[in-house]
């Protein structure tokens, strides 16, 4: 995979996170309507989403790094 492709992949994943980032900055949505609900639910949900995408991102990075190393070795 070329360097450009790798950057593209990383950028696209970053964009995938944006809704969550925006959410995190704007505080909890519809705080009035949901105020009665258990707020711990939000923490658990966000942790779950971050774990899931963190693991996937980790795998992508590991594939990209291994690809880079093998490609370099093959060129030599």
């Amino acid at each position: 995979m070329s360097k450009l492709n790798r950057w593209f992949l990383a950028l696209a994943l970053l964009i995938a996170f944006l809704p969550e980032l925006a959410q995190a900055q704007s505080g909890l949505p519809d705080a009035g309507a949901l105020a009665s609900q258990n707020l711990r639910g939000y923490t658990h949900m966000f942790i779950a989403y971050f774990i899931a995408w963190g693991l996937i991102l980790g795998w992508v990075v590991s594939i990209a790094r291994r690809l880079g190393r093998v490609e370099k070795a093959l060129r030599e």
Binding site: L34, Q37, G41, H44, M45, A48, A52, L67, V70, L74
Partner: protein, 238 residues
Amino acid sequence: MSGKIRWSGAVLGILGLALVLVVHWQVFYWVSTERTMGVVQRIFYIHVPAAWVAFMAFGIVAVCSAVYLWLEDERLDMAALAAAEGGMLFTSIVLLTGPLWGRVAWGTWWTWEPRLTLTLLLFFIYLGYFLVRSSTENSERGKRFAAVVGIVGALEIPLIHVSVQFFRSLHPEPVVMTPEGPSLPGDMLTTLFTGLAAFTLLFLAFFLFRYGLERMKRALAHRQLAGDGVPLPEGVSS
């Protein structure tokens, strides 16, 4: 990596990422909140797709392993390995997100619920799959051992499933694949299907990249062993 694999991987990945954006919009802005479990139920939209992908990956491993033992085509072994690595990742996601949901919804981190238990066992079958590969000096032998583990695991999975079901069931009842049709409200169902499609496409994209990586790795190993100018075995090329 050959251009074909790279391009199909990239296309699938871009489609998958687009759907990931859609599913995040649906999950965080659009879908209605489940009444009894509250907001934490939204874990559902990654938990279930991850489980689906994990089991699909295991299906790929089993089929590729069986045909590999039959035809002894190197490419099938590489495909099985690539799928197993993805399967291991997605079982991990299921096993980590499940307890987070269960803690809020049921008040407990872990229950011996059949499908959760089955996923845990699937994780250990994948672990064994990688351990037999890494612990054999003769790589041909390791490939055959891993294929046997994949096949036996796949054949035993239904029996394990029946037995853990017999043991106990606490999990939310099936809400999509029921005889009367889906019992999930429409918007939740739409979100779930977007999630399923997004995860499937992403998995297939990563699977292709991992497969291409394995091919290059083996080509490299072959070149280092045999020296330059020696023709590569069928199915292995840079």
